[in-house]
């Protein structure tokens, strides 16, 4: 082991490798409830070439590698299930290019969402990227590779759909470029080439390490507004979402259902955020939204909340720091989080199941859904708060998480950024040939099985 340690030091420099108990402890877990898995080394490369050397070394020594962004998924995906090397990518945080005309940015994969957000605000104020509601330390690479979504998802879909191309180090050490950048100096698109980006998206780091990412940017309008449609009938929510999203006005639509604060309990609040170049456009968009749901307004069964401008700012904050605060509702520093991608029509089922599971397990919950595209699908989420200092409470949240994953699959959804048991639940329902294909791809790309082993595998 000492030899590997010395080799790693040679690659990245003494300062950026550790095998100390303190780092091994911290990098063995994330903020969720999964059990710790200890790495042998933590290494922080500063360039694609260093990543390549680390991968080659790992191949040579047959050591597992687990790439890591900010470890904020809460489902333990950056835990090294079989030990080995955790590659913390956050030193690779340079913003390499912003293209104003074709609206994309090229960044190193460890660049934080917050850094790109601030950079665009300062240097390209007419552009923005889709910011997820993860804390701003979340990395662009990590979020895209897990199929994240964010504040422009009603406009542009999943963050993977906003990916123009990437550079990656394959498990065997080759550096590849995917998308237009493999042919042209411009990182403008993944088409018209065979779309190889899928080899890296949603694989939980089992097919390589992305080192550069090109993402789409969108206009940052001078006027931004939010309307919140409040109702108390979950069965009507799919129709309301269909109507609101169908206006093609929204940049972001989220439904929030939470028992805290108490006044919010029992209601579905559908937040619609949109931007405009002028007051006229703003009013037009507002009126289009109102027109779309006039049936509900007329029947007095739903309506838009009147909001003061100060309140609007809080609701439009990207990322929403308020969501993180849910971790302290039990004075315990944690919440467990299940996201499940689902068709919109199962919203009522998903909502009721979530409440049922929360009640059965006695956990404090918050649920919601982010609408992807013009009402094409949704990312339904369940968050269960727990007190980290109380092992029984942690177990309760863990159990609620497992039950929720199972329930999501039962009603036709698919758990997002699934932790190992959820991955296995997905595999059990998956077309066997699809899973076989996954295995063949992995075998081809990673003959030594070094890339984040333990993920997307059938339990032995």
């Amino acid at each position: 082991m000492e030899k590997i340690y010395q080799e790693l030091k040679k690659i990245v420099g003494d300062q950026y490798v550790s095998n100390q108990p303190e780092e091994r402890f911290f990098y063995s877990r994330d903020g969720g409830t999964t059990e710790p898995c200890f790495p042998d080394f933590i290494v922080m490369p500063g360039s694609t070439e260093e990543v390549q050397k680390i991968v080659l070394l790992a191949n040579e020594r047959k050591i597992p590698i687990t790439p890591m962004g900010a470890a904020l998924v809460l489902s333990g995906l950056s835990r090294p299930l079989r030990g080995g090397i955790v590659v913390d990518m956050k030193r690779m945080d340079r913003i390499l290019e912003v293209n104003e005309f074709s609206r994309f940015a090229v960044v190193e994969a460890g660049t934080s969402e917050g850094k790109l957000q601030a950079y665009l605000k300062k240097h390209h104020p007419s552009l923005k990227h889709s910011v997820p509601d993860a804390p701003p330390m979340a990395t662009i690479g990590g979020n895209i590779l897990i199929h994240g979504s964010g504040h422009l998802s009603a406009l542009g879909g999943f963050h993977t759909e906003m990916l123009n191309g990437l550079e990656a180090v394959l498990p065997t050490g080759e550096i590849v470029r995917i998308g237009s950048c493999s042919v042209s100096p411009y990182w403008f698109s993944r088409a018209p080439l065979p779309d190889l980006a899928g080899l890296f998206l949603g694989w939980a780091g089992t097919t390589g390490i992305a080192t550069k990412i090109a993402i789409k940017l969108y206009p940052d309008r001078p006027l931004n507004d939010i309307d919140i449609f409040v109702m108390e009938d979950a069965d009507s929510v799919p129709d309301v979402i269909r109507r609101l999203s169908g206006t093609a006005v929204a940049e972001d639509i989220t439904a929030i259902m939470t028992p805290v604060p108490e006044w919010a309990s029992g209601f579905q609040m559908i937040n619609v955020i949109y931007g405009a170049e002028s007051k006229r456009e703003q009013v037009l968009k507002r009126d289009l939204l109102r027109e779309s749901v006039k049936k509900y307004i007329k029947d007095k069964v739903g309506g838009f909340m009147p909001l003061y401008s100060d309140m609007k700012g809080r609701f439009m904050e990207a990322p929403a720091s308020q969501l993180v605060r849910f971790a302290d509702v039990k004075k315990g520093g944690g919440f467990e989080y299940v996201g499940a991608i689902m068709p919109i029509e199962v919203f009522p089922d998903a909502y009721r199941k979530g409440l049922e599971i929360a009640e059965r397990n006695g956990v404090t919950y918050s649920t919601g859904a982010r609408i992807i595209g013009l009402g094409h699908t949704m990312m339904f989420f369940y968050a269960y708060a727990f007190n980290r200092a109380d092992p029984i409470d942690v177990k309760k949240a863990q159990k609620a998480l497992e039950e929720t994953n199972e329930a999501a699959l039962t009603i036709g959804g698919i758990p997002w950024k699934a932790e190992v048991p959820a991955q296995q639940g997905i595999i059990r329902r998956m077309d066997p040939n699809t899973f076989k294909l996954m295995g063949r791809i992995r075998q081809t790309l990673d003959p030594n099985g070094i890339m984040n082993p333990g993920n997307w595998e059938v339990p032995s």
Partner: protein, 339 residues
């Protein structure tokens, strides 16, 4: 349930029906007004119930002090003619409920009742409020806002409890029998609405305007006249207590500002628009806000003075966009005192 102190005979005999004829949001000639009024008296549905902007103005317009607005709200509730979508009403009722976080303690006079506006505690400062005590919170929220939601039942349920809370947790044990209402709504609730609803009020209330006038008079030597033109945004709740309006003029005189005559002031004041938005009537809200702002701009107002925090939070940004500085009445006084 406490009954509204209301005399149907007065309305039946009323020759002017000012409550409807003078309405700023619905059009009635005298004949139509009389017809609709009779429907209301008979407990029948009327277009008044759908069209009412709940601006309280008819309480001021009624020459007989016969509470036409309170009657409209009672009828809306009896006939389930909800002005605001039901989930919004339910949510607001929960949001504004007393939270039982009463912390009785030593208070003294002058005692300022800040209603349920925790964000405004910073306003109670400096020479203007020297030596005052402050109470605030959901448990002393006057609940008059339910007039906008056809929920007089909530007022009837909560207001007596609020009065009891104030009396027994803050006043009685400190030997106090009066406080200053920071918000028009509170003063209106205790001096106008409660008697009309047959709810006993064991304490005396002082309007903020009266308090400010007296303090400014004491501190007169410290005042630097502001020398600016102001537009005053008169809130709906002041329609219940028009007798307090003269204090506004006195305060403006004391701080050296000119309450310029404009179309939408005094008895012709316009609603800030928030309630109309809750009613989902954005087109009407847009229109009246525009008219109001155009009017302020036309008269060259440098400041728009608010006393209602809800009006302030609703209009402050749009007023600023017109190059006019939004300011609360108490802050205007602070400005004159150099605070």
């Amino acid at each position: 349930m406490t009954m509204l102190k209301y005399d149907p005979e007065i309305c039946e005999k009323c020759e002017t029906v000012d409550c409807l004829v003078r309405c700023q949001y619905m059009q009635f000639d005298l004949t139509q007004a009389k017809e609709e009024k009779l429907k209301l008296l008979a407990g029948e549905s009327s277009r008044v119930l759908e069209g009412c902007a709940t601006c309280y103005a008819c309480e001021e317009y009624c020459p007989n002090n016969n509470h036409p607005f309170y009657l409209i709200v009672d009828r809306q509730e009896e006939l389930s003619t909800w002005p605001v979508p039901i989930p919004l009403v339910k949510q607001q009722v929960k949001m504004m409920s007393p939270k039982g976080k009463i912390t009785p303690g030593k208070v003294n006079t002058p005692l300022i009742n800040l209603c349920f506006f925790p964000m405004l505690t910073g306003c109670i400062r400096g020479r203007l409020f020297d030596g005052t005590s402050l109470i605030e919170g959901s448990d002393i929220f006057c609940n008059i806002m339910w007039l906008h939601f056809a929920k007089n039942s909530v007022i009837r349920e909560r207001l007596p409890k609020i009065i009891d809370t104030i009396q027994n947790n803050y006043l009685a044990e400190n030997g106090i029998n009066e406080f200053v209402c920071f918000h028009d709504e509170c003063y209106g609730a205790y001096t106008h609405l409660a008697p009309a609803f047959g709810i006993d009020v064991p304490f005396k209330t002082v309007h903020l305007f009266e308090y400010l006038t007296k303090r400014l008079t004491v501190l007169k030597k410290e005042i630097t006249p502001i020398r600016a033109t102001v537009a005053y945004q008169r809130p709906c709740s002041n329609r219940l207590i028009p007798e307090t309006q003269h204090w506004v003029d006195e305060i403006f005189n004391l701080v050296g500002v000119d309450r310029v005559e404009r179309e939408y002031d005094r008895e012709n004041a316009l609603c800030c628009g928030t309630v109309l938005r809750a009613m989902q009537k954005d087109d009407i809200a847009d229109d009246l806000q525009k008219r109001n702002l155009d009017d302020m701009q036309k008269v060259g107002a440098a400041y728009c003075v608010f006393n209602c925090p809800a009006c302030f939070f609703t209009m402050k940004d749009m007023v600023t966009e017109r190059g006019i500085t939004p300011i609360l009445m108490s802050e205007l006084c602070q400005l004159a005192l150099g605070q």
